[in-house]
Symmetry: C2
């Protein structure tokens, strides 16, 4: 099974490769991964400021600004001036934005789902447990 260091390297490389594969497999070609992540987060947590979004996605404010601009032009979200602090704007999903999130979520993992179906029950269980462990690792 190898040393812990070897396991690390193997896990790291597999994770990065699979991540690339998943990114390549996205359904809606008009919406990048980062863009969809923003819509999904807004859908789950309601209106947020630019800085809050940037912090959660671990990108710089200018990067997030560009992403939000793009999504605003596409009509998926709007900026609303914050009454309490007029430097800020609260970014909120439009109806169209909510729609795209709910419909995309269903199709999003179609590719991966068909792969998992081809695996044995045991292998699926391994991956399911690994997903939990990896989630924990990422939060640390």
């Amino acid at each position: 099974m190898g040393t812990i260091a070897e396991q690390s390297t193997a896990l790291r490389m597999s994770t990065l490769r699979l991540a690339r594969r998943l990114r390549a497999e996205r359904v809606d070609p008009s919406l990048s991964d980062g863009q969809f992540a923003v819509l999904g987060w807004l859908h789950k947590h309601g209106p947020l400021t630019l800085t809050q979004l940037a912090e959660h996605e671990r990108v710089s404010a200018p990067s997030m600004n560009r992403t939000v601009n793009c999504l605003e032009e596409s009509g998926y979200l709007v900026r609303e001036a914050d009454e309490a602090d007029r430097r800020r704007s609260n970014i909120r999903l439009t109806g169209t934005g909510r729609d795209i999130v709910t419909t995309t979520l269903k199709q999003r993992d179609a590719w991966l789902t068909t792969r998992l179906r081809d695996l044995s029950k045991e292998d699926r269980a391994t991956l399911a447990r690994a997903a939990e462990l990896m989630g924990d690792l990422a939060t640390l």
Copy 2:
């Protein structure tokens, strides 16, 4: 344990999150992720052609060409004309290239290694097996 679709979503999110985390945790600033992956693969599998490298890393030939150019300029690898087929060149690590792989491998996953050390033997085994499965998924 959930449906297969739920497992897909969970695995997908964990993979992408962990990938982001791993990328953020990179030690060596002089060598990008993609560049190091190429060196590591060559170290493990010996000389390969450009097309073979591109296929394994799932990038286009021109992308891999640029990466290889960069690594060649840095002196980490060389192109050797293939005697049997002179369209090809066999790409092989130099001594410096081998050195950077072996020394970097130790530090590269330091973050992940310390996390894995905190896990139980069973959880580590799960992740090790998952790494194999994920590698296979990515190649499909």
